[in-house]
Symmetry: C2
Subunit: 700 residues, 2 copies
C-alpha cells in the first residue's frame, strides 16, 4: 500500500478532511489507531494482559519516524539507521541511480558508512513533543464563519507553527493537528532530518515480488525494505531505536505497529460517502485508469521509458486498487444504511432535549446544500486546481511552474495570510524540492501534460472558458510540446533563479511553462478559494458539531480518525478464513521459490537464484497481523511487547481497503516482512554482513 498523498492527491486534490472521531465507543477487538497520549490500556490489559510502562511509550515514540512525503519508518540502531519500505524510497533510488545504472531495479549496497549517498529531497521527521492547543485554537476561531473562519484558522496555524519552530525551521518542524474533528487540536513538534542517506536496498524483483497482481493480496513473498541513515552535521545521527530481533514473531503473539496512518473516514457522514461513491470515485477511477493505460504503454517503448514511468505507474495502480475497493465497499447498501441509521440515532438524541437541539441543531440538514456545492465545483476544482496536482495539468515541470508562480505571490504576503503550504516553516522543504538535481524525464513529462490537457478539454468541454483560454488555437499535444520542450525549468538553477527573483521575475518570465501556469493561476486560485470556503470549511464545521454531540453522548474513550500522525495499533499474528479456506499467517522462502516463474513480476534476480542452496527454505518471509492500519503505515515497524522490532509493515490484504470506513477484525489484515528474512537476505543473498551486524548489535 502506498502513502496517502499518492492515494488521495488525484481524488480530491488535498486529502479528505479525515479529522472525524471514531465510530465505536469503546472500540472492540483489535480496532483502533491510538494516539500515544491515549492508549487503549483497558483493552490491552483485558485482551493481552499487557500494560505499557511510561518508559515503553516514550521509547516507542522516540524510535518511530515518518518520511515527510508520506510513509512511516523506524530507527533500528543507535547510529541513525532507519528501516522503511522499498516503495517508500522509490524516488531516492531512481534519482540517485548513475547513468546506465538502475538502483531502483537492481538494488544498492553502500560500500561503507562513509559511502552512503544522500537522497535528494528526502525529509525524515521524528516526533519530539505534543502540545494541546485546543483552547488557543477555539479562542481564535470563536464566532467565525466561511472565509473568515478559514482566514482565522490560517493565522492561528501560522502563529503556532512559528512559535514552535522558534526561528529554527531547519531543525524543527511543527504541524497543527486537528484530532477528533475539532474535539482536540494539538501542536506536534518534530525533530527534522533533511540529510537522509541510502544504506541498502534489495532489487525490485524481491521488493515487489508479485507486482501489481499481488499488491493488496496474500499470501505474499516480498522483501519490501530500504535501509536509510539519518545524518546530523555530516555524521550519523545518534538516536533512540528499536532493538532488532533477528528471530521474528510467533503465531498468536501480541504485536504493535507504530506509524503514521494517513487518513480514515470512519465518521464521515453518509451523505458525503454517497457523493464519493456515486460521483467522485467513478470520476477518479476513470481518470486514473486512463492514465494507467497511458503509462503502461509508455513503458513498453523501451528500457528507459519503463524506468521513467515505473514510479508513477506503481502509485497509480496502487491507488486504483484502493479506489476500486472503496467503491465496492460503499456499494454495499448495508454500509450507507448503517451509517444513516447511526446518524438518525444521534439526531433523535439531540432532538430529545430542547437545550441540545438549540446547541447542535440538525447538522445533516445543513450538510445537504454544501454537498450540492461540492458536486457543482468538483470537476473544475480537481481538473484545474486539485491541491498538490491538478488532473488537467500533470507533469513535474508544470508542478514546478505552479509552485514558482504561486510561491512568488504568497511570499509577498505576511506569513499568517499565506496558503499553508507557503508558510515560512515550509519554505525549506519547497526550496529543497526546487533545487533537486533529480533529472526531469522530458518525454514522459510531455506525455503527461498532453494527456492531462486532453482530459481537461474532454471533462470540461471545448466551450469551457479556461479550456478555451489555455488551448487557444493549439491542440493539447501542441501546447504540451511547446511548453515542455521550450521551458528551462528542468534545470534546478533556472528554478532557483525564478524562486529568488520573486514576483518581478515571474511577471517578466517568458518561459512557456511559467506563462502557462501564470495564465491558469487566477482561475485555479478562485477555485481553491471557493472549495476551501464554501465546501471544506462548512463541512468541517458541520462535522465538528456532529463530533461534539457524539462526545457529549458517548464520552471520549475512543480514537481519532487517522491524520498522518503518530499512532499505535495493537493486534496479533494471525491468518484468516477466506471463503472457507484458512490462510496461514506466515509464508516462507520455500513458497517464494515455488511461486517464481522467471517472468515479471514473478521473476527472481540472479542474487536470489544463486543464493537458493545457501538459504533455509523454512525461513519465514512475510506474515499477517490483526493490527488496524491504513495507507501511510507503510514502513511501520512491527514491535513486540518488549519494544523489539520483529517485522516491517508493507501492505494490507484486500479486506484492509474497506478499513478506511470501518475495521472488521475477521478479515482485515496487515502484511509485514519478517525480521528473520531480512537478516537471512542480508547475509546469504546480498552478503552485506556489516549491515546485518549493525542491526543485530544495535550500533555501527
Amino acid at each position: 500500500m502506498s502513502s496517502p498523498s499518492l492515494m488521495q492527491r488525484l481524488l480530491r486534490g488535498a486529502a479528505p478532511v479525515a479529522l472525524l472521531c471514531a465510530i465505536t465507543a469503546p472500540a472492540l477487538a483489535d480496532e483502533g489507531m491510538w494516539t500515544m497520549d491515549n492508549l487503549p490500556l483497558k483493552q490491552l490489559k483485558e485482551r493481552y494482559g499487557f500494560t505499557p510502562s511510561a518508559e515503553w511509550i516514550s521509547r516507542v515514540t522516540q524510535s518511530s519516524a515518518r518520511l515527510a512525503l508520506g510513509c512511516s519508518a523506524s530507527f533500528v540502531s543507535a547510529d541513525g539507521l532507519v528501516m522503511t519500505n522499498h516503495h517508500c524510497a522509490n524516488e531516492c533510488l531512481a534519482e540517485l541511480s548513475p547513468k546506465g545504472q538502475n538502483w531502483f531495479q537492481d538494488g544498492f549496497k553502500a560500500a561503507s558508512q562513509g559511502a552512503e549517498p544522500k537522497c535528494p529531497a528526502m525529509e525524515l521527521d521524528r516526533l519530539d513533543h505534543i502540545e494541546d492547543v485546543t483552547d488557543k485554537m477555539s479562542q481564535a476561531l470563536a464566532g467565525k464563519q466561511g472565509a473568515a473562519y478559514i482566514q482565522a484558522e490560517k493565522a492561528a496555524d501560522a502563529d503556532l507553527q512559528k512559535g514552535c519552530v522558534a526561528g529554527d525551521p531547519t531543525h524543527w518542524r511543527c504541524d497543527v493537528v486537528t484530532l477528533y474533528h475539532g474535539g482536540k487540536t494539538a501542536l506536534y513538534r518534530y525533530k527534522r532530518y533533511q540529510d537522509v542517506r541510502l544504506v541498502f536496498a534489495p532489487d525490485q524483483n524481491i521488493a515487489f515480488f508479485g507486482g501489481d497482481p499481488d499488491n493488496f493480496n496474500y499470501p505474499r513473498y516480498d522483501l519490501d525494505l530500504t535501509v536509510l541513515r539519518a545524518y546530523e552535521n555530516g555524521k550519523p545521527a545518534k538516536t533512540t531505536y528499536f532493538p532488532f530481533d533477528p528471530n521474528g514473531p510467533k503465531a498468536g503473539q501480541l504485536v504493535f505497529t507504530s506509524g503514521n496512518p494517513g487518513s480514515t473516514s470512519r465518521e464521515t457522514p453518509a451523505a458525503e460517502l454517497a457523493l464519493m461513491r456515486d460521483f467522485e470515485l467513478p470520476s477518479g477511477i476513470g481518470y486514473l485508469s486512463t492514465l494507467d493505460g497511458v503509462l503502461w504503454e509508455y513503458g513498453r517503448q523501451g528500457k528507459q521509458q519503463t524506468q521513467d514511468a515505473q514510479d508513477d505507474l506503481f502509485g497509480i495502480e496502487n491507488s486504483l486498487k484502493v479506489y476500486t475497493g472503496w467503491q465496492q465497499f460503499l456499494a454495499d447498501p448495508k454500509m450507507i444504511e448503517t451509517k444513516r441509521s447511526a446518524e438518525k440515532g444521534l439526531l433523535d438524541w439531540i432532538n430529545a432535549d430542547p437545550q441540545r437541539k438549540a446547541q447542535y441543531g440538525d447538522p445533516w440538514e445543513k450538510l445537504a446544500p454544501v454537498l450540492d456545492k461540492e458536486r457543482q465545483l468538483y470537476l473544475r476544482y480537481v481538473m484545474i486546481e486539485g491541491g498538490r496536482s491538478a488532473r488537467g495539468f500533470q507533469g513535474e515541470l508544470f508542478g514546478y511552474a505552479r509552485t514558482l508562480v504561486r510561491g512568488a505571490a504568497e511570499r509577498a504576503k505576511p506569513d499568517t495570510q499565506r496558503l499553508s503550504a507557503f508558510h515560512d516553516a515550509n519554505l525549506p522543504a519547497i526550496e529543497a524540492a526546487l533545487g533537486s538535481t533529480a533529472p526531469v524525464h522530458k518525454n514522459l513529462d510531455e506525455t503527461l501534460l498532453a494527456f492531462s490537457l486532453t482530459k481537461l478539454r474532454q471533462v470540461l468541454g471545448a466551450d469551457d472558458k479556461t479550456v478555451h483560454d489555455v488551448l487557444g488555437h493549439q491542440s493539447p499535444e501542441q501546447l504540451a510540446h511547446a511548453a515542455v520542450q521550450g521551458t528551462k525549468l528542468a534545470d534546478p538553477a533556472a528554478r532557483m533563479a525564478l524562486w529568488k527573483g520573486g514576483e518581478a521575475a515571474i511577471a517578466a518570465s517568458t518561459d512557456p511553462m511559467i506563462v502557462l501556469a501564470r495564465q491558469v493561476e487566477p482561475e485555479a486560485r478562485s477555485l481553491r478559494d471557493q472549495w476551501d470556503n464554501e465546501v471544506m470549511a462548512p463541512e468541517r464545521q458541520i462535522s465538528e458539531t456532529i463530533a461534539k454531540a457524539r462526545f457529549a453522548r458517548d464520552g471520549s474513550n475512543i480514537y481519532p480518525d487517522a491524520t498522518f500522525t503518530q499512532r499505535l495499533s495493537f493486534g496479533k499474528v494471525e491468518g484468516w478464513n477466506e471463503n472457507g479456506t484458512d490462510v496461514p499467517p506466515f509464508t516462507t522462502f520455500a513458497g517464494l521459490y515455488a511461486r517464481a516463474t522467471g517472468a515479471d513480476p514473478f521473476k527472481l534476480s540472479k542474487a536470489w537464484l544463486d543464493a537458493k542452496p545457501h538459504l533455509d527454505m523454512n525461513t519465514k518471509l512475510d506474515f499477517v497481523t490483526t493490527n488496524d492500519i491504513i495507507g501511510g503505515n507503510s514502513g511501520s515497524p512491527v514491535i513486540d511487547a518488549d519494544g523489539h522490532a520483529v517485522g516491517l509493515i508493507f501492505d494490507g490484504n484486500i479486506h484492509s481497503i474497506g478499513g478506511d470506513f470501518a475495521y472488521d477484525g475477521t478479515n482485515n489484515r496487515a502484511v509485514a516482512v519478517d525480521t528473520t528474512a531480512i537478516i537471512a537476505a542480508l547475509r546469504s543473498v546480498y552478503h552485506d554482513e556489516a549491515l546485518a551486524d549493525e542491526l543485530v548489535r544495535g550500533h555501527l
Copy 2:
C-alpha cells in the same frame, strides 16, 4: 454515437437482453421506437395531424437498411445509392486505403460509378418481410427450464431461420426477434447485400469535427457522411429509395427517423440496474478507460500507429461517454426508486387476485438469486468468454483463432444444436470475415493481447486456475509476443485453410494463437454455458413473466424496447433549454468556421479552407430533433411527412444517453446532418457534381 456492438460487447459480452416491453402505456410526448406494424397513429394524429398511408409505411420500410455490423442506413437513389455515417464505414475506409494513403483521414471520391471499390466484409440488409412466429415459439418452449429452455430455443431459432432463407443464405438473412420480452416473437427476413462499394467519404476532420470532446455534445458542426452503393451481380442494385430534399427541414417541422436502435433497457428490473450501476459499469468503465489510455499512447508513437489505433480508440471513447452517462443517470436515487415503486405497484396488482398470484408469482423474488449468480460469474465470464470479445483476450488474431476453434467444433454438430453464431445461415458472414484481405496490424494486436492478458491476471488474480494455465511461466508480454509474432492467422489463406480443415486441422495445428485459443476453450465454453443457462435464461423467463403481467394490466398500446431492428421514431426539429440558455436547433457553416482552430480535432482540411469563399455561410449544417433514438440509429435518415430525406442522424446530445433507461422529451435530442449541407459540400468543397446530381435526381 456508435453501434450497439461497440457499446456493449465489452460491458456484458453479448448485448444485454433488451427485449423488454416499454415503460409507458400509452407513450407520452415524442417517445417511442415503434415497429412498422404498430405505429403510434393516435399520437401522430393528435400531436401532428398526420396519418401515414400504407404506401408511405411500405416505402419507408423498403428504403431503410442496416449495416450488419451495427449501424443504420438508407437508399437515396434508384440505383442502390446508400447514405450512412462516416463513422459507420471506418473499417471499410481504413481497409481500402492503398499503401501510403489514408482514405479514412483524407476522404474518398470514386472517379466514376465503375471505379467504386468494394468494402471488405461489409454487409447491408434491407427488411423484406416480417412473420409473426409467437405461437410457433411458444409451442417449442412450453414447459422448458434452464438449459433445456436454451436448447429448445436454439433449435426452434435454427429451424425458423433455415426455413426462411430457403436454401439461399447468400441472398437472404433471417433473424428471430423477440419483442416485448417474449410478448411477441417475429421472424425478420432481410434482403442481403454483400457487395457494397464505396462511393464517397469526406475527410475525417469534417466528418468528426470536434472529435471526442464534442461527441454527444451540441451545438455540432459535423458532416458525418459516407455514401455507399449496393450491387447485385456486379451491377448497381435497383432499389426503392427516399427522394433527397436538398433544402433540409425547417424548425418545428414533423420529422421521422427510420433506423435500427440497438438496445434499450427501459423495462429492466430495478435490481438488475442496481447491479449494473454498482458492479458491472464500474468494472467496464475501469477496463475501457485503461484501454483508452493504452491506445491513446500507442497512437502517439507515429502516423502509422495513429491510423492503426484510431478506429478502436473512437469506439472506446464513445462507449466510455455512454457508460459514464449511464452510471451518472443510474446514480440518481430517484431513477431506481421510481422503478422499484412501479414494480411494487405491479406486484400489488398481482397479489390482489389469487388467480393472478398463482399465474405470475413474485418474479422479483425469483430474480434475487439469479442476480447473485450473475455477480458471482461476471468477472470470469467477461474476462475469459464475454461474447464477441473477451476482455482478457483482445486483438483481431485471437478473435480469428477463437472463431476457428469454436467454429470447427460447432460445425460438427447438427445445425439446431449449435451456438447461434454458427448456424448455417450465419456461416457466409463468418467466411467473409475470415477471408477478409484487410491487413492485421500486428504490433497493435500484440499490444492489445499483452494488455488484456495483464488485465486477466490483475482482475482474476495470479492464483486463478485459468490465469495460471494460460500464462504458465510466461509474462503477458512474452505470451502475447510469441503468439502474435508466431501465428500465421494474419494471412487470410491460412485462416481459410484451417476453417476448411475443420476439427482435425484445429486439433493438429501448432500455430501458437490456435494453441492459445484451444487451451482456453473448455473454460470459456463452460462459462458461456453457465452464463446462458443460469443467468440469461432465468432472467429472460422472469422478465417475460413481468411483461405478461404488465400486458394483462395495461394492454398493448406500447412499443417494445430496442432490438437492433427496424423502428420508426417521430418528433420535430427543436432545440432545448440548457441551464437557462436556449440551444437553437440549427448550426451553420458560419459557426463551423468560427469554431475551427487549426488544431485537431477542430482543424479543417485544405478543401474546406479553400472552399470558404464559395460557400454561403448561412447554410444549415447540423440540427437537433426530439426523435427518440439510441445507439444503432447512427446513419438513420431523417425524413419528412412526404417521405423525403431531409437529414442524416449521427449522434444524440448528452441527455440522450439516459434514453437507454427513460425518454425525457425536455432535453433528449437526436443530432443530424442537414441535407442542404451535404449538397453544398459535394458541389463546393469536394466538387463531386455527379454524386450531388444523382442525389437530387434520384438515379444515376
